[in-house]
């Protein structure tokens, strides 16, 4: 015999899935949204995205190399996904130092302190984003108005997002029908011609990304559908009760970060539940919390907070919500 034989327990073959493939699949699915915002916001989007991705990778590398002294795993693509998602949640004119601080919080605090990939209870990108929103509220809420591709960065013309127009307007006693004239048309909202974060503006691009991820079986339908569905049902109820102070479901779904959150943020593997039933409950929780924050809360937008709050419930759901097992006998009565 030439060389000793390998012995390992079965199975002896392995599928083609790998962490890298899944992570780069997510990156690819985010590309349409990125290109859409480059089209609408110009170089600002490129600068923000590049800064965020590079600083996330660098922080992960530095922490693994010098603090944890663990084997490097920056090739798995998870830092790129975090960086991209963080960037897509930011306005395109945010100062570079703020992005770097946000990346440090996302990677250093939300991810690596818990042990790196797979152990973080909260979505790192969202944790970074919420940290920035609370620490730098002005920079984080001055949204550049889309004006075609241009090269300006910090000095971009800023305006309000559709959600803040509605929120401020209702607070000031304006009626909804007046306000609806100020917000972008549905067509503009679908294509992304409105104020907002880099990644959240173009509904169409995000949905293309979702279809790609569903086709590649990177995500399942449960979380996005339950989030969007519960938002639609909840806002439809509010709208039917009082159409004068509540916007219609279509507006709620297209405005703000609902699609970005439902498709890319809430479906983050590490911080979402494992079993399909738990995924549906998790999604509905996010949807309902989002609407509650939007309608009654202090912030015009609530997706990030809703996802982070539901993240905290994931371990509980994983423990108590079990899939129905094969051959499980149904208890009578």
């Amino acid at each position: 015999m030439s060389n000793p034989l390998n012995i390992s327990p079965s199975p002896h073959i392995h599928g083609k899935e790998s962490t890298e493939k899944l992570m780069y699949g997510v990156v690819l699915a985010l590309m349409p949204a990125l290109f859409a915002s480059i089209y609408f916001f110009g170089t600002g989007a490129i600068i923000v995205t590049a800064t965020s991705v590079i600083s996330c990778i660098s922080f992960e590398y530095l922490i693994q190399r010098f603090i944890l002294r663990k084997p490097l795993s920056i090739n798995d693509g998870s830092a790129i996904v975090t960086g991209l998602l963080l960037a897509l949640n930011l306005p395109s004119n945010i100062p570079v130092p703020v992005i770097i601080i946000g990346s440090l919080v996302a990677i250093g605090v939300a991810k690596m302190t818990f042990g790196g990939l797979g152990n973080n209870p909260f979505n790192p990108a969202l944790a970074g984003r919420v940290f920035m929103l609370i620490s730098f509220p002005v920079q984080m809420t001055s949204w550049p108005v889309p004006s075609g591709f241009k090269t300006g960065y910090i000095d971009a013309v800023t305006g309000a997002t559709p959600l803040s127009i509605i929120k401020e307007g209702i607070k000031n006693g304006e009626s909804l029908s007046q306000l609806m004239e100020k917000v972008p048309s549905t067509a503009n909202m679908i294509f992304g011609n409105m104020g907002g974060s880099i990644g959240e503006v173009s509904a169409l691009a995000l949905i293309i990304g979702m279809i790609y991820m569903l086709y590649q079986k990177i995500i399942t339908w449960h979380i996005p559908v339950s989030i969007i569905g519960s938002i639609a049902v909840f806002t439809a109820l509010l709208w039917l009760i009082n159409p004068e102070s509540n916007a219609d479901p279509m507006f709620h779904i297209l405005a703000g970060g609902v699609l970005l959150g439902a498709i890319f943020m809430a479906t983050d593997y590490v911080t979402s539940p494992m079993s399909p039933v738990a995924m549906l409950i998790y999604g509905c929780g996010i949807g309902i919390l989002t609407v509650i924050i939007r309608v009654w809360g202090a912030y015009p937008e609530g997706v990030s907070f809703a996802i982070l709050i539901m993240n905290a419930f994931v371990p509980l759901m994983n423990t108590y919500i079990k899939p129905k097992r094969f051959g499980e006998e149904v208890k009578n009565g």
Partner: protein, 444 residues
């Protein structure tokens, strides 16, 4: 829409390289080592001594308890020694070593290839014949067949399911058997039906064996109550409970037997062995084994006597390729890696696969990303990530509550895991520990 089981399942690449190779008889080796334990249950008790001469088909070790099986000599010759040899369990076990001299069969065996269709034995006599002939489940589990044919009082069996799924990649022994011994298999099924007293039998065959489906469908019109059902290709459809779910849409309750839903499942190979035992009086001492692998020059299906060293099969297939890194006994999903080529073929050996060294090393381990792909791959809807974690951390009581003992070790979770986590390794550890714990509890 083809029938299949609804939950989980995977689609590993098939690599059925030998589906077109007719079954050939492997030349007799110089010596054989016949294990006295080739089945689930108690090892058979030896009847022969060193120096005895035996004939092909002679009983050399007899059944020892209800769940056990007779062992017959597969060759004629002299017993050179009774010693231990590393077998497919990975440990040294008792074996009878026989120096082959000629090939003289026991007189009672009908060696003609003529088809005998008339079934003359009564049901109890058929069960007794299977017991005598040492018939065990040839799908791989090697559970003694006479036990399955004995329906306990209070239970009712009304359906026989014949497993022709062969969902493991690479293996083709059942496929070839169905093509070449179709009539015999159908007679064997009729015998099993008579023994169980059932009117209906279903043969489940995966759709990637369309020639076998067509062949058996055509032949089965002559046999009363036997129908062939094509199934969608999905692993692990060959598992008893999954096959029952696919064919009659009933779930065998957790921890129970197929009989609890009125069905009994037998493999096509077993049906053929039953035919030979009952109609030809031939005990089980040879079986079809697939020898295959991507770099094997001459892969094929061979009729092999039990006790033949795996080395002879590899030689018949053109020798061991230089890049061989792993030899697997059985399918790539559930088979066992062998640590030498002297391991003898046993009743449960359905195939020998030689993996090139680059495919025989496990991919690099990465942290679990909680993608839940193991849950969606599990045909039993268990939570493999959780079970593996619990048993790695020694929390076996909780693993038991999470139904770790339901796991059938199909390996779909480890196959799917993008982080290459050894889920099944830990689940298997937990499962055996939990079974041990439960047994101790019962003693107390």
């Amino acid at each position: 829409m083809l029938k299949t089981f609804p939950l989980g399942g995977i689609h590993p690449p098939e690599f059925k390289l030998t589906s077109g190779s007719p079954i050939k008889q492997l030349p007799l080796p110089q010596t054989v080592a016949i294990m006295v334990s080739q089945h689930i249950g108690a090892p058979a008790s030896l009847l022969v001594n060193k120096g005895d001469s035996v004939k092909t088909g002679q009983l050399i070790a007899s059944i020892n308890g209800f769940v056990s099986s007779n062992i017959h000599s597969s060759v004629s010759g002299n017993i050179s020694k009774i010693d231990t040899i590393i077998d497919t369990t990975g440990y040294r076990q008792t074996a009878v070593f026989i120096d082959v001299a000629g090939d003289e069969w026991v007189d009672t065996i009908d060696r003609s290839s003529e088809l005998v269709r008339d079934i003359n034995l009564k049901p109890e006599e058929i069960t007794e014949k299977c017991r005598e002939s040492g018939i065990v489940g040839l799908g791989g589990a090697t559970f003694p067949s006479h036990v399955k044919l004995t329906v306990p009082t209070g239970k009712k069996c009304n359906l026989l399911i014949i497993n022709g799924v062969e969902c493991e990649p690479y293996l083709t022994s059942d496929h070839r058997l169905m093509l070449e011994k179709g009539e015999e298999i159908l007679v064997g099924i009729s015998i099993l039906m008579k023994a169980l007293g059932v009117e209906q039998a279903m043969i489940g065959i995966e759709n990637n064996k369309s020639d076998a489906i067509a062949h058996l469908t055509r032949l089965s019109s002559d046999y009363k109550g036997i129908t062939v059902y094509p199934l969608a290709v999905k692993y692990p459809q060959g598992a008893e409970k999954q096959l029952i779910k696919a064919l009659i849409n009933r779930e065998v309750p957790s921890g129970r037997l197929p009989l609890d839903v009125g069905a009994v499942v037998h493999n096509v190979g077993t049906a053929y062995a039953v035919y030979e035992a009952v109609q030809k009086n031939k005990p089980l001492f040879e079986r079809v084994v697939t020898i295959t692998g991507k770099s094997v020059t001459n892969p094929g299906n061979y009729l092999v006597r039990t006790g033949t060293a795996v080395r002879h099969l590899i030689e018949a297939a053109g020798g061991m390729p230089d890049d061989t890194g792993k030899i697997v006994n059985g399918g790539p999903m559930m088979g066992k890696a062998l640590n030498n080529t002297e391991v003898p073929v046993v009743k449960g050996t359905s195939g020998i696969i030689l993996f090139p060294s680059d495919e025989s090393i496990r991919p690099e381990l990465k942290p679990c990303i909680r993608c839940a792909k193991c849950i969606s791959a599990c045909a039993l809807n268990l939570e493999p990530y959780l079970l593996a974690n619990l048993s790695a951390r020694g929390l076996f009581e909780r693993a038991e509550i999470e139904k770790i003992t339901d796991c059938m070790e199909c390996g779909s979770c480890s196959y799917t895991c993008p982080a290459n986590r050894p889920l099944l390794d830990y689940i298997r550890l937990g499962k055996s520990t939990v079974i041990k714990m439960a047994r101790q509890r019962n003693i107390k």
